[in-house]
């Protein structure tokens, strides 16, 4: 029995997925021994955020076949909402430092950003994607892609027009001493951001795997006609998927407000990174996206550490292009070609 598992494990290691995960872990361990554990902490925090954005992107791709270019703008919406909710809360807590809001205030802000993200996703579906879906005849993927390009430009400039181009940031969510683990000091915000990301990703995975609605979403992503035949309400699933995807992106923006202050183009960096993840890990694969998020985060952190800030677009994108040449469907992707290849 154990021999069987052993050979299975060996063959997994030899596959592209296993190989890349093992290499990632080894590189992460070696780098953090060489330069200090803060590398690992940065990777984990960035990876957690990226996992949220990338799973949303993957969901949109897998279920709706929309290559979302405006996903970073929902990140921006989330951070904006969190800023405007958290500012009055922090004013209140400055006057009453003993109230219970000090602990729960940030969570309220993040919840607000999630809800607003979901609502804006629904609005986008009702105003933009729905009409296109009803009118689209062919070439849906490319048309919807260009549509999201337009949406992205629109949202960025609406932000600039309405709220101004200045940085809307906060000092931090949870004040207090940083937590120290083995001589590494990590600010509480970072710890909480990672915890929130982890909880949400696990919940989301649970939702997709075990609930009826999650199964319906997966069914739609595999075969729309088949899903319709077994009685799944496509419209409802589509609406749910878009709001979920946008909420995931928005909560990432909300929970990282202390790192990324809200300004019009704040979403571009997470967007680029999320696209790296999605292309690297193969389209429509949620678990793969989570693993890919940590790989890309590690790449970014290592690049910044050893080569210098600013190179973090050059090296990862070069590496991803290199991988794509040899494995066009991504590391965790299957070789089945779908609607997205057209």
């Amino acid at each position: 029995m154990s021999n069987n598992y052993g050979s299975k494990f060996l063959s997994w290691i030899k596959s592209a997925a296993g190989l890349s995960i093992v290499v990632t872990i080894v590189v992460a361990v070696v780098a953090s021994i060489a330069s200090g554990p803060y590398l690992l902490v940065n990777t984990v925090v960035t990876g957690g955020m990226l996992a949220l954005v990338a799973t949303g992107l993957t969901l949109m791709l897998g279920v709706l076949n929309i290559p979302m270019f405006a996903h970073g703008e929902f990140f921006m919406i989330g951070s904006l909402a969190a800023f405007y909710v958290f500012t009055p809360i922090s004013n209140y807590t400055n006057e009453n430092p003993d109230s219970i809001i000090v602990v729960f205030g940030p969570l309220i802000a993040m919840a607000a950003s999630t809800i607003i993200g979901a609502i804006s996703g629904i609005i986008a579906e009702k105003l933009v994607f729905g009409p296109l879906r009803r009118r689209s005849t062919d070439d849906w993927v490319m048309n919807s892609f260009l549509l999201t390009v337009g949406l992205s430009v629109l949202l960025i400039n609406l932000h600039q027009l309405v709220f101004g181009a200045d940085f809307k940031g906060i000092v931090g969510y949870w004040s207090g001493m940083p937590i120290s683990i083995y001589d590494v000091f990590i600010s509480r915000d970072r710890v909480m951001a990672f915890m929130i990301a982890a909880v949400i990703v696990v919940l989301f995975w649970f939702f997709m795997t075990y609930t009826r609605t999650g199964m319906a979403i997966r069914a739609v992503s595999q075969d729309i006609t088949g899903a319709q035949i077994v009685g799944i309400d496509i419209e409802k699933i589509v609406l749910l998927t878009i709001s979920l995807a946008c909420a995931l992106s928005a909560v990432a923006g909300g929970s990282l407000l202390f790192m990324y202050p809200s300004y019009p183009t704040v979403g571009l960096e997470p967007l680029y990174m999320a696209w790296f993840v999605v292309i690297l890990s193969g389209l429509g694969n949620v678990l793969g996206a989570v693993a890919g998020a940590f790989i890309v985060a590690l790449l970014k952190v290592i690049t910044v550490e050893y080569i210098g800030a600013g190179w973090d677009f050059v090296i990862p994108s070069a590496l991803i292009m290199f991988i794509l040449i040899f494995k066009p469907s991504g590391i965790f992707g299957s070789d089945v070609r779908g609607a997205l290849d057209k």
């Binding site: 027009l161 181009a165 571009l268």
Partner: protein
């Protein structure tokens, strides 16, 4: 365009127009562009600068449409490739003392080389994957330009000599219009030839094209090379017109600008983007300069137009023109809009 009348019956004027790939309406439009800098509201220098920018975007959208409209791959790193051409041209002038004119062509060649590479590495990818790959390529080029400060001066911007030693914008305007026309002509000739047929076949159904004996490797790489070479020459024009190059010209938002114009103009038509760029970009510039207390409003309008066109009229202006304007009852008008061909 299938010609119903054989070339024997055509008079010389029509024959020339046909060789130039223009309808009488197009000819009039071109003539209008050439006299535009002498017509009163447009003869001011700042208006001419806008018009030059319109011409640049128009020419870019023609080159972009050769890839997007014919082999159905959106080259999302188009602005970056163009910037690469511009930078290599500028660096050749600065470091090797080449004349800007030769350097512009050299810039086009280097950009064509980049196109060759993009075409090669994206061969196994289709649709959105290929678009993403060219996008990542563009991001990588832009990142390199920002970081290679010893060569490109990074964000500080690279000062470049201009093509003409005058303060007037008029020669630049004529140059860009000529460039626009020749780029259009080159693309149209390519599209009319056997190669163009192969492009369309690959764009519509790659497997069917391969079955009927078209080598997709050759044609796809060729298409990328040509389209990127055009971008490179235009990048060289940009460099030697504005006199300063910053990595911002490689940004994805520039590609989006070109893409929006090309798609609003109508994909697969080549002329649609060129026609729509002039009124559209010009209006945007007016909005931007008159309502400068509302920054970003022009881009909001921009995006709204793109969204509305994508939803309600995905064929763009050229489709509207073909279905509504092109077939009037009046015979003279019909000749005016269609030519003899």
């Amino acid at each position: 365009m299938s010609s119903t009348i054989t070339s024997r019956q055509m008079n010389p004027f029509d024959k020339i127009l046909d060789k130039l790939c223009l309808t009488p309406a197009g000819f009039c439009g071109l003539a209008l562009l050439f006299v535009l800098p002498f017509i009163p509201p447009f003869n001011q220098e700042y208006m001419l600068r806008w018009l030059i920018y319109c011409g640049l975007i128009a020419a870019m959208s023609v080159g972009f449409d050769l890839t997007a409209g014919y082999i159905s791959i959106v080259n999302f790193g188009y602005a970056a490739v163009s910037g690469f051409g511009g930078y290599s041209s500028a660096l050749l002038v600065i470091n090797m003392g080449l004349s800007p004119w030769i350097a512009m062509i050299a810039g086009g060649m280097t950009a064509g080389f980049i196109g060759l590479i993009i075409g090669m590495i994206s061969l196994r990818l289709r649709g959105i994957f290929a678009a993403c790959l060219s996008w990542f390529f563009g991001l990588a080029i832009m990142g390199l330009t920002i970081k290679l400060v010893w060569l490109t001066r990074g964000q500080l911007g690279l000062r470049t000599p201009r093509l003409f030693e005058t303060d007037s914008n008029v020669p630049f305007y004529f140059l860009i219009i000529t460039l626009l026309f020749f780029i259009y002509l080159a693309c149209k000739w390519i599209v009319r030839s056997k190669m163009g047929l192969a492009f369309q076949a690959i764009g519509q159904n790659m497997d069917a094209a391969r079955t009927s004996g078209i080598n997709p490797v050759y044609y796809r790489v060729m298409n990328f090379t040509i389209s990127c070479a055009i971008a490179g020459v235009l990048g060289g024009f940009y460099a030697h017109f504005y006199g300063i190059l910053t990595p911002d010209m490689m940004h994805t938002s520039k590609t989006v600008e070109i893409l929006a114009v090309a798609y609003i103009g109508g994909r697969g038509s080549l002329w649609g983007g060129a026609v729509i760029a002039f009124p559209f970009i010009f209006l945007m510039e007016i909005v931007r300069s008159t309502l400068s207390n509302l920054p970003g409003l022009n881009l909001v309008i921009y995006a709204l137009v793109l969204i509305l066109v994508m939803i309600y009229y995905p064929g763009g202006f050229s489709y509207f023109y073909d279905t509504n304007i092109r077939k009037p009852k009046n015979k003279a008008l019909r000749y005016f809009f269609n030519g003899r061909a």
